[in-house]
């Protein structure tokens, strides 16, 4: 279980990890500046298992994989949004950061509440209110990538991209 960090619509990759801080491949370094433009306290206060809940079009903007990598390195267990921007969604799945689409969970949860996510079933429980929500199921091909833990692991398992 973890704290819910609630964000609005159109959270872009520039505010998830600004260009001036992504000239590195060091994930701990990326985590240090994660969301710094809009939540300066996030990097200090985020704990392992916390959950980001956001509105529409989460992760819009650039293709920088530093954005999901920064969130993952922060210890965030999953990002739940009403919708995701395409490249961010793909990047998150590729690197094994769980991303769930669940309108109701976002609309019925507040910043600072506690939640738990059961990833295999896509079940989200708001522990503060006791409400449970079901995330949208993934297309089978994408579900297999998630199950493998990312695209690299998927290809290694399959022997090729197929």
């Amino acid at each position: 279980m973890g704290r819910i960090w609630k964000l609005g619509d159109n959270i872009n990759t520039d505010v998830i990890i600004p260009g001036r801080y992504n000239v590195t491949t060091d994930r701990a370094q990326l985590a240090k500046y994660c969301l710094c433009e809009i939540l300066p306290e996030f990097a200090q206060q985020v704990r392992q298992g916390d959950i980001i809940m956001a509105g529409h079009n989460f992760g819009c903007g650039s293709s920088r994989e530093h954005a999901p990598a920064a969130i993952q390195a922060s210890g965030v267990k999953a990002v739940i949004a009403r919708s995701f921007a395409r490249i961010f969604y793909r990047n998150a799945i590729n690197i094994g950061l769980p991303v769930l689409i669940c309108e109701e969970a976002v609309l019925n949860s507040e910043d600072g509440q506690e939640a738990e996510v059961e990833l295999e079933q896509g079940l989200i429980t708001n522990l503060t209110t006791g409400q449970r929500f079901q995330a949208q199921p993934l297309p089978p091909f994408i579900a297999r990538i998630v199950e493998a833990g990312g695209i690299i692991e998927y290809i290694r398992r399959e022997g090729t991209l197929r």
Partner: protein, 417 residues
């Protein structure tokens, strides 16, 4: 039978493919740049083993240095050194002669009907030549470097039909801002935008690049223009291989957005989202500390020509500074030959080495706290050009040039005799 996107995937796979299908295809070209290559190389190595893995085809794997060139910091220089080691080991030529999205087409790495993936969101620009090109993250690109393949969900298509004639002082950049205003920043999420109509047919390739470049600003997977005689003429001398002139065939579009551009006036996108678009006269009082002319959206020869025509014989306002960065070496040399660069320098601008410059806030004109910029960029996000309290406005090269002269956001039509 299908949209241009469906036609390209169908041609590639040798069977009819429809929107919604997930397909795995051999890609024609793969690209990454100095910021996204390090993570792509990590993914490549993870997949192929520490050493010994080979890229699928070193002649179709492209690394362009453009985000921080020449390197501005030790951190950037270190990453670039490591990329050079990888490129040497793989026999990949590193191109350091401008913005990837300008250099890839100039160098002939984009042709109609081809599928191109790049580790940069504005890879969608190449759709201007009738290629299916889309931005991905570094891991996808690392996989493509290793396997020569990628997976796609064939997108639904929104047809953007442009009609009418642009008024003097109004440019394709204004049209793209109008489209973002109408469609919204996620109105085309996961979809392809196929641009057509009499206006599109009359546009130069440079203008089509501007149009397709900002497809991602509406969430689109790519922007596409069906190739025509203008495309063939531009490709002559750049692409020597044969390519199919694929066209949409009885396409079924998810929807059609029709825009008559005849009444459009110069537009400005206000911070911090690209769809905050207003007519220039609504924001004319706003003082501007810096203008920036350049980027993969508007750093080409015709963009510089428009700005130079306004700035010729004038100087920029004493409280405003101007940064000009040609999109590529080819553009730079031509602009030098035509006297545009001299015009900019005499007007008081700083002219930079071809590349992305301050567009991603790393060097050559970053903004301080509370400063305001008007730029020809494609994004006005918080913190993108430097300090998070700085504000970024977007407009056409003409509006940027007019603003440089007055020091506040200015309708360019007053400078067009």
């Amino acid at each position: 039978m299908g949209t241009l996107a469906e036609e390209i995937f169908s041609h590639k796979l040798g069977r009819p493919v429809n929107a919604g299908e997930i397909v795995i295809v051999d890609v024609d070209h793969v690209m990454s740049h100095d910021t996204t290559s390090p993570l792509a190389i990590q993914a490549f190595r993870k997949l192929t083993g520490e050493r010994g893995g080979r890229v699928f085809d070193s002649a179709r794997a492209h690394i362009v240095f453009d985000h921080i060139v020449p390197a501005a910091t030790v951190a950037a220089a270190t990453l670039q050194r490591d990329i050079r080691v990888f490129a040497r080991e793989q026999g990949i030529q590193i191109l350091q002669e401008g913005i990837c999205h300008q250099v890839m087409p100039e160098r002939g790495f984009v042709a109609p009907g081809e599928i191109i993936v790049g580790a940069d969101s504005h890879t969608c620009t190449y759709g201007a030549l009738g290629a299916f090109a889309t931005g991905m993250g570094s891991t996808d690109i690392g996989v493509a470097y290793a396997t020569g393949r990628s997976w796609f969900r064939v997108p639904e298509t929104i047809n953007v039909r442009l009609t009418g004639k642009l008024q003097p002082g109004v440019y394709v950049k204004d049209v793209t801002l109008e489209l973002v205003r109408r469609i919204g920043v996620d109105g085309a999420n996961y979809r392809a935008l196929e641009y057509s109509g009499p206006l599109v047919e009359s546009l130069s390739i440079s203008e089509r690049f501007t149009l397709c470049n900002m497809a991602i600003e509406m969430g689109a997977k790519t922007g596409l223009v069906a190739p025509d005689a203008t495309t063939e003429a531009w490709l002559r001398g750049r692409v020597n291989r044969s390519y199919p002139m694929l066209q949409p065939q009885n396409p079924r579009y998810e929807r059609v957005v029709e825009v008559d551009v005849s009444d459009l006036s110069p537009l400005i996108a206000c911070p911090p989202d690209v769809n905050n678009v207003v007519p220039v006269e609504q924001v004319e009082h706003i003082r501007i500390d810096q203008v920036f002319l350049g980027t993969c959206t508007n750093g080409r020869l015709d963009d510089l020509a428009i700005a130079a025509s306004i700035l010729r014989g004038r100087t920029i306002h004493p409280t405003t500074r101007m940064v000009v960065i040609p999109a590529s070496r080819e553009v730079y040399l031509e602009a030098l030959r035509l006297g545009y660069i001299e015009t900019f320098i005499q007007a008081g601008a700083s002219v930079g080495t071809p590349g992305c410059g301050p567009c991603i806030g790393r060097h050559f004109g970053v903004l301080g706290p509370g400063e305001r910029a008007l730029t020809t960029m494609n994004r006005n996000f918080t913190g993108r050009m430097g300090d998070p309290t700085a504000e970024i406005y977007l407009g056409s090269p003409a509006t940027v040039a007019a603003t440089a002269i007055t020091g506040h956001i200015t309708d360019p039509r007053q400078f067009l005799a």
